[in-house]
């Protein structure tokens, strides 16, 4: 799988490159600012871009802007955005195109190598991976009269893990129950949220997140 990395700190850029290469990814370009990122995306047409939010020259949110711009040019281009902090506002902006294939994670999550690599693969395959922190605030906001409030506590837990991009198998493992129980929970969730149950995993997560955005 071909990857473009955009990260301005050399230490982290090299670390990410080494990490992804160790898991059989092919890092075709590792750049240090947003302009070069856009260029690299045009030149190499990678399977996924891993992008830092804060980069030169202004050190604000040019990584995020570049990612959104690139996805406007090439809808559905898988982008995994990394940041020292997460904002719901940014998650919304990334998700607003509705094409999926978006990841938004705290940089700390890289430390959990296996989960991180899993996230990269999920996004590259068109899925949506949101940081647990973002998901937690989304859930906390659920209005008393919203369909989310109709979910049981267990169903909420399942939904949270789904929004983090986990597969049913992974959710079952995390909650110490059988996969069959999870698929029952998920179909309940989709029913309560009025979503057609025959969609694929990623589409469903997207739909759920879109629903939470109101």
């Amino acid at each position: 799988m071909r990857v473009v990395i955009a990260e301005d700190l050399a230490l982290l850029r090299d670390g990410l490159t080494r990490l992804l290469e160790a898991y059989e990814f092919e890092v075709v370009a590792a750049v240090d600012d947003a302009e070069k990122l856009i260029e690299a995306l045009r030149t190499y047409e990678p399977d996924i871009a891993v992008v830092d939010v804060r980069m030169p020259p202004t050190f604000t949110d040019e990584g995020l802007r570049a990612a959104i711009e690139a996805r406007a040019e090439r809808p559905g281009l898988p982008v995994l955005v990394l940041s020292q902090y997460v904002e719901q506002l940014y998650a919304r902006e990334l998700l607003s195109s509705g094409d999926g294939a978006v990841g938004y994670l705290l940089k700390d999550r890289v430390a959990d190598v296996v989960t991180f690599v899993e996230a990269v693969r999920t996004v590259a395959a068109g899925g949506t991976v949101l940081d647990p922190e973002v998901v937690a605030t989304l859930m906390a906001r659920a209005q008393p009269d919203s369909p989310i409030s109709r979910l049981t506590d267990r169903e909420r837990e399942v939904l949270e893990l789904m929004a983090q991009g986990r597969s049913n198998t992974a959710i079952a493992a995390a909650l110490f129950v059988t996969e069959k129980a999870i698929s029952k929970h998920t179909s309940n969730i989709f029913m309560k949220l009025d979503l057609p149950p025959d969609d694929d995993d990623n589409r469903r997560v997207l739909a759920v997140v879109a629903y939470l955005q109101g």
Binding site: R54, T60, Y85, E87, L89, A111, A140, R141
Partner: protein
């Protein structure tokens, strides 16, 4: 050796066209002054009568009704005269929030600015009026004498004859003589009228601008708020130091120990070493979490990225109730103001979440005439107070460092409306209107 500094006229470099336009504006203002003398006269009569019978209830009621009106009239003149003089005439009144009824009367009685307002009403209805009339009359004279021959032509003989004793104007040809007066008036209009208007404005300023004692009071307020701000920031720094010391720093120490142990055990007990490494990884995550929360407390990253507009939108999204945001800021306020206003808004929204029992809130941010205004409204149970020690008092204190004010309107049963105002200029003229419901 002595140096003489000549006071340069502010209109020294003025072109002819600018001079004409300035005088036309002054003439316009003279009409405004003449008209405004009417309400001044009414207020003068009412207030003077009311003061005379103030011991009786009706006098007090009249005062309660008309003293604020006098303030409005005075404010209009502060604005007009300030424009003529090219200065900003500040309001000198003592604060009257939190008092009403008799308390208000007592406060007014002790406020020299209110008495000077009253003295000004006298001036405005007498000397001030006369000055404005003369200024207005000069302009009127120019026009009247200029059109005199035409009026003479269209009116029947004898109606507009003028008898100067030595000679008499009673023919059309002679009527053009009046143009001499028009020219003379034009000279007066050019030379004298601006001076008269300036006198009038100076009179207003002398009575309406803050007196020495108000300025002294202001200095005392400023130094008090400065001391508070310094205390506040010292306390903040101590808090940050403690947070770092107990949080990230301690975790990094633990991390170092874990790694050291793992290094030792690597050869003898690889499994134990792996467990220690896993633990070390967990420690880095929590250390980063600590650092993030400290950073948010100092300067939220989203504020740095997106400015006040984006940061308040982000704030609204993080609340557990829906918050509509309407922001019209044609630029960015100075960084310290931005930060103070952000934290103030954060505190207000957090308060709503904690106490108000509200189902929704609205935040409006605008910048008009050098005043940044944030209005936060919720549909909660009301009864919010800016008493000492409350979060709201903290908000007011934080804003006072920037001459900002907070106004709380929170009747029982709600709705609560809190308005923050901070005087400031915006930087880049970029337009960034944004709105939305979160």
């Amino acid at each position: 050796m002595s140096t003489t500094v000549e006071a340069a006229s502010p209109f020294a470099g003025e072109s002819f066209a600018e001079g004409v336009s300035r005088r036309l504006k002054l003439s316009g203002l003279s009409i405004a002054y003449v008209l405004l003398a009417v309400p001044a006269l009414v207020l003068l009569c009412v207030l003077t009568t009311a003061l005379g019978v103030a011991i009786v209830g009706v006098g007090m009621v009249l005062l309660l009704m008309f003293v604020p009106l006098n303030r409005h009239l005075a404010n209009v003149h502060r604005h007009l005269s300030g424009r003529i003089l090219g200065v900003k005439i500040e309001e000198p009144y003592m604060p009257t929030e939190a008092v009403s009824g008799f308390g208000l009367l007592r406060r007014w009685m002790n406020d020299p600015a209110r008495w000077r307002d009253w003295a000004w009403t006298w001036m405005s209805a007498t000397v001030g009026w006369a000055l404005s009339w003369i200024a207005f009359g000069i302009g009127l004279g120019v026009i009247w004498f200029a059109i005199y021959p035409f009026i003479f032509a269209i009116t029947p003989d004898g109606v507009f004859d003028v008898n100067y004793g030595l000679f008499k104007i009673d023919t059309q040809a002679e009527s053009f003589f009046e143009w001499t007066w028009s020219l003379l008036m034009l000279g007066l209009w050019w030379k004298v009228m601006p001076v008269l208007m300036r006198w009038r404005a100076e009179l207003d300023r002398s009575l309406l601008s803050p007196s020495r004692e108000t300025l002294e009071r202001r200095v005392a307020e400023v130094s008090a708020s400065r001391t508070e701000t310094i205390d506040h920031s010292a306390a903040e720094l101590r808090r940050i130091e403690r947070d770092l010391h107990d949080g990230a720093q301690a975790r990094l120490v633990a991390l170092g120990m874990n790694l050291g142990l793992a290094e030792e055990m690597l050869a003898t007990d690889p499994e134990g070493a792996a467990a220690l490494l896993a633990e070390a990884r967990g420690v880095t995550t929590s250390a980063l979490g600590d650092l993030r929360s400290v950073v948010r407390g100092i300067h939220p990253p989203v504020l740095a990225d997106r400015g006040l507009a984006g940061a308040i939108q982000a704030l609204a999204l993080d609340m557990s109730f829906p918050v509509s945001v309407l922001i019209t800021l044609p630029g960015r306020p100075p960084a310290p103001v931005e930060s103070a206003v952000y934290f103030a808004t954060n505190e207000l929204l957090a308060n709503i979440g904690k106490h108000a029992g509200a189902t929704r809130a609205v935040v409006e941010v605008s910048h008009v005439d050098g005043m940044l205004t944030v209005r936060v409204e919720d549909d909660g149970r009301g009864g919010a107070e800016a008493s000492n020690g409350s979060g709201l008092a903290g908000v007011a204190r934080r804003l006072s460092a920037f001459d900002g004010t907070m106004d709380v309107s929170s009747p029982a049963e709600g709705p609560t409306v809190i308005t923050l105002e901070v005087p400031c200029e915006l930087s880049s003229p970029k337009t960034s209107p944004s709105s939305g419901t979160a």
